[in-house]
Structure formats: C-alpha cells, structure tokens
Symmetry: C2
C-alpha cells in the first residue's frame, strides 16, 4: 500500500534508506532535480538518470497552465510524456501561486489567480490540486498549503499555518490512495517552534505517507533555516520520509541530513548551471570570470561527469559567455552530477557509520575555495 | 599527402565516395552541420556522431572574435577544445564579414571591419585567414573570397570574382601543406556562366584539394541555384570533392548530388530546430502549430532518432512553445538525424546504381506533406 520507506542505517540523526514506489525505488537522502514544466531544463532523461537521479520534482502550477493537466494525461501522464520512467513528486501549486501568479484572491475554499503566462484566470483548491496531481500521474502528491511569508508577525504565521492545516485535511480527503503512490503533508508555522509543533502534531494525526517541512529557504538565512529545520525534523515520525522543501546549497543539504531530513529539491544546480555558476568539491566557481579564459583544466578535478572528463574551463567559459545552449547543457549536467555525487557520498558514509567524519571533511574542502588561477 | 578522395561509385553525375583526412574519414556526399562558434548549437559531440555526421563546419569569423584563435590553440585546437575528434572544415571568414560585421573597408590586401559582438576593429587578409585556420587546426581550410551579392550587375560580379581569384592565389601561397589537411578554392562569378568558367579554370590551374561553389543560396531562388550549381559542378575536376556552400533544403541536396556535388553545409537543420521547424520524410512540420498540442504520435513515423523514438508531437509542441532548452535539443537532434539519414540513403542508392529511382521516390513522399491532424 502507498509508499514503503525502509531505513537501512542511521548515524546520529542522519538516516539512509529507500522508498519503494509504483515507479521504482528512490534512495534517501534524495536530491530531486526540479523539472518545472515537465523537463529538467537542458537535460535529457537519460543524462539525468546517468547523474544518479532517482526521483525528480515537477511543478503543478506550471503544468496546469501549460500544457494543461488533461493534455499531459492525453500524452500518457507526466512520466511517459517526458520520457522519465522513475518516480516524480509534484508540488501542490500553492508556492508558485504566491510567488508568480497575479491578482490572487484567497478564500477558504481555495485561491483564484491569473496566469503569469497569459493572464487567464484559474482556481485552485485543495481538492482541485490533488485532482490535478492525480491527472498528471504524480508518484508523490503534496497537499495544498500556503507558504508563509518571511518575515511576518506571529499572528500572521499562525493564521497562515491554520489555513494550511485545514487545506491539508481537505487534501487528504480528496486524495485517491493507490498502491505505490503517496501523499505528503507539509508542516508550516514560520520560525515559531510552538506553531511548528502544533502543525506537526496536526499532520501526524492525519497519517500522511511522508512529511515535508515548508516555509523555509524564503529569506530567513541559513542559521534560522537550520534551527527551524532541525527542530521540526525532530517532531516528525521516524518511520516516514522527511522532506525539506526548496533546500538548497550543498552545505545546507549536508547539514539538513545531519538533523534527520531525507528528501530535498532546489533549482540551484539547474538554474545556476544556466547562468554559469558551478558547484564543485571546492565550492562554487563562476565560469564567466575571465580568469578561466584559457584555462585547460576541468571545472572540478575530482569530478567524473562528462563535462569534467571532456571539456576545459576555457571552453565552458567561451560557451557560457557566448550564450551557447551547450554551455547550459554541460554546466547543468555537471551541477546535477555534483549534487547526486554528494548525496551518494552522504548515503555511503551513513551506511558506514562515518557521517560526522564525512561532514567535517566535506566542509573543509568545500570551504577551501577554488584552485588558484593559472599564471 | 593532403587529402585523399576516392570515388566508390557513380550513378549519372552523382558520386559516392570518401575523403581520408588527418582527423579520420568522411563519406560523400557529406552534409556538414554548422558549428559556428565551436559548438553545433544544442548538440553534444556524442549525439552529433550518433546522427551519422562525419565532418562539421566551423566559422573562422566567429572564432577569431570569440574566443580568439590563440585561445582555441591554447585549449588544444578546435577539435580537441570542442570534443569533436573528426574532421572540421572552417570557412575563411569572408562571408560573415559581409553579412555580420560593421564598417567594412575593402582593400586589395584584405578587409578591415568591426566586430558585431563588441565593435572592436579587426583585419582579415587571405594570409591572415589561412593563418587563423591553421591556428584553429582546421582539417580543411577555405580560401578567403568575397561572396558576390545577389542581385548585382555583371560588371560587379566580374570585379568581385577577380578579387576573389587574386585572394585565392594568395591563400594558396599562404597555406602550409600538411598530410591529411587540405585547402579548397571557391568558384565565384554570380549567375554568369562565362564568369563561372573563368573562375573555375583559374582555380583548377592553382591545384586545390577540393573546389567549392560559392555565391549561391543568397536569394537567387532554387531554379537559378540549381542551374548555376549544375553548370559549375560540370566545370570542376572529377577527382576532387566539390562543395556547394550554404546549401540547403533536403530537396536542394538531392538535386545538387544529381549534378555531381559532394559536400554541403547549411544552418537550416540546426537553426530551424531551435525555432520549431522539423524536417521529416513528409516535408517540413511546424511543431508550434496548435494542431500538435495533444498529438501523441512522433514527429516522423519513419524516423528512428531518439526524439522520434521517445517523444510525442504534443510534448515537443509544449517544449518549443515554452521556450525550453530541451525543445531545441530534441528538435535539432531530429533534424540533423534526418539530414544524415537522407545523405546515407543518397550514398546507398548511388552505390546501388539506383539514385534516380531514389530521387523520384524521395520527392514524391517529401512533397506529399505532413500526416493529417488527429480529429
């Protein structure tokens, strides 16, 4: 029934395991590359799988507007349409309505909004969001929630959290349980521990297949992020996956794993790839910088992705500066490969009971910074 | 020495053969995808090779401006830099100076111009162009020529042709012969048979490794194109490859092969791929058209490229309309695969002595047009 989550090893609060779904297994801790509109930008599904990605995320908001959920269904559902045979998690659409859509009108029943693409009016309710995610054939659906703004007053955070909890219950009622498919609840409550506790308790009573920590990585800074994520993770059931939404940088992932988070998504490796920022074992590299112009070394000497095996920094610099599509392709491939390599290391070291040692050595190298320029 | 061209079969004026170079063999008739700035846009070298591409073209004008020939050399030369182990033909830069650069000043010695990228002033002469192409490590270099405008008076065409012939001789003198590398001359003369003959005779006396037909596909229309190309091809030595520059549409390639042309380049499959036009066995398809929105059929039912094997018209429509990079990747891949499949068919039918039959059946299907929309 639904999803089956098994923990293979724990090391401190960090856990390594796997989730069995109708569309195959994904290993945890898992990083989900973001495939907003039914494509992880600049990647083919084959290259995505080659990076070690087991599961991807897609955005309900984008897909409901374009091409539309019914069209996705007529093309075989999201996975078949985009040629991705593995599991897919879809968000509820709530976050993008707040961040992208225009003229939002919030009611208890849901949200009326105008598309940022063509201005057409749409309506999303918990029931509608769950229905769309089922139409898309999402492996894991998310409840509709309101991502509480930061900063906001405690009163606002409480009101927003309560709205989300009502929507969670409605989403749960609307969800059609199928073997190998699941529904996750989302803890809200801003930066307030008591509100987070109230939210987590409410959700746990509803019995979801996994629990997400929402409303973070919205500008609160990494200290508060880690504090609230750590506190909230500790409130959630041990036997279900915990998903820290929208996080983040490599160092955030390592930290969040150490407090018991199992799943992550972030546009950072893909979006940065398209603008020339690489993630490497020695921190970030801005390939647009002219220091790389005639540098015949690879982006990351410790990386075995196709970009690092075949191309120089100088060539990548040229491609990115020239706005070449291949620049986006190669940089994105490297970044996702780097992220998935990091997740694989994390899992290996948890299984080996050496996660703390790994965390320290990761930080040391990552914070050391890029290799010296050629002279 | 230089290049070795062997003709394996002839059928009428059509020839099938191969050219041995320092960077491997390419089969003729050959279509060269265009890799303007050191990348065939939206393709990796691996996927390019998988389409059956043996040789690609790169633009000296673009590379001399960005990243600069010396940088290309410091990154191992063009082929090594871009991860393409096969032969590369570079043009001379003359065509782009005329079509892209600003504030050109023509002298007998060469051309002074301003970069269309950053306005910096540059100078190109026959000697300089040949030197840059050697610095890039081009397998086949082209002489510097002036691509005569169309329409123009016969006097202008003659003057332009004579300028190009002078430059050809200077280019030949400047070329450093190396085993497996070659230099091609370019016939000019506009639409005037006597000028074309004069130009071809002049070049033949210079003894080039191959002969190009330049100054066509510049707006003269397909009737004149084929007439002049056919006439000019007949003037050129049989034992050297004949390269019809900048051509063209699939039907143009088939026609040009029938009059004895062996090599082609054109931005059409790549540029069209990025704007949503596909080439198929049944003519062109504009995937942006809303008739494809929920069409679960492949772009081309007769095609076995990764795009057609894995994706629907509806998904491609969605990707292209959404401006997704993957749309450019998949459409470009299909288009180049289609072009190379066409060249493979052409070669096979020449070798089998059935080129005329192929030409007729190609035309019949190609002109039949796209499959009916779904109702």
């Amino acid at each position: 029934m639904s999803l089956s989550f098994s923990i293979e090893a724990s090391d401190g609060k960090a856990r390594a395991g796997q989730v069995k779904t109708a569309h195959g297994i994904f290993r945890t801790p898992a990083f989900m590359p973001v495939g907003t509109g039914g494509t992880v930008k600049a990647m083919t599904p084959d290259s995505l799988a080659a990076t070690g990605s087991d599961i991807i995320l897609a955005n309900t908001y984008h897909l409901m507007l374009r091409p539309g959920a019914e069209i996705v269904r007529s093309l075989g559902g999201l996975g078949k349409m985009m040629g991705w045979p593995g599991p897919i998690l879809t968000d509820s659409g709530g976050f993008q309505i707040m961040s992208l859509a225009k003229l939002r009108k919030l009611t208890d029943g849901g949200v009326t909004f105008k598309s940022h693409i063509d201005g057409t009016e749409h309506f999303l309710s918990p029931e509608k969001s769950i229905g769309i995610q089922e139409t898309l054939n999402a492996t894991i659906s998310m409840v509709l929630d309101e991502c509480t703004a930061y900063p906001c007053s405690k009163e606002e955070a409480e009101k927003s959290m309560k709205l989300s909890m009502g929507w969670s219950a409605q989403s749960k009622d609307a969800f059609n349980p199928r073997p190998g498919f699941g529904l996750f609840g989302i803890v809200q409550g801003g930066i307030h521990f008591d509100l987070r506790r109230e939210s987590a308790t409410f959700l746990e009573e509803q019995k979801f297949d996994g629990y997400a920590i929402g409303g973070l990585a919205v500008g609160e800074g990494s200290e508060i992020l880690h504090e609230v994520a750590g506190f909230t993770a500790g409130l959630l059931p041990c036997d279900k996956p915990r998903y820290l939404m929208g996080v983040g940088r490599p160092e955030d992932l390592v930290q969040a794993v150490s407090v018991g988070c199992d799943m992550f998504d972030c546009v950072l490796p893909t979006r940065s790839g398209r603008t020339g920022q690489a993630f490497t074992h020695r921190g970030t590299v801005n390939i647009r910088n002219s220091r790389h112009r005639s540098d015949a070394r690879p982006l990351d000497e410790l990386c075995d992705c196709p970009t690092c095996l075949s191309y120089t920094r100088g060539y990548l610099h040229h491609l990115v500066r020239s706005g070449e599509i291949l620049g986006s392709m190669l940089m994105t491939w490297h970044n996702i490969h780097y992220y998935q390599g990091l997740m694989a290391s994390i899992r290996r070291h948890i299984l080996g009971g050496e996660f703390s040692r790994f965390e320290a050595s990761f930080r040391e190298l990552y914070l050391e910074g890029d290799i010296e320029p050629l002279t």
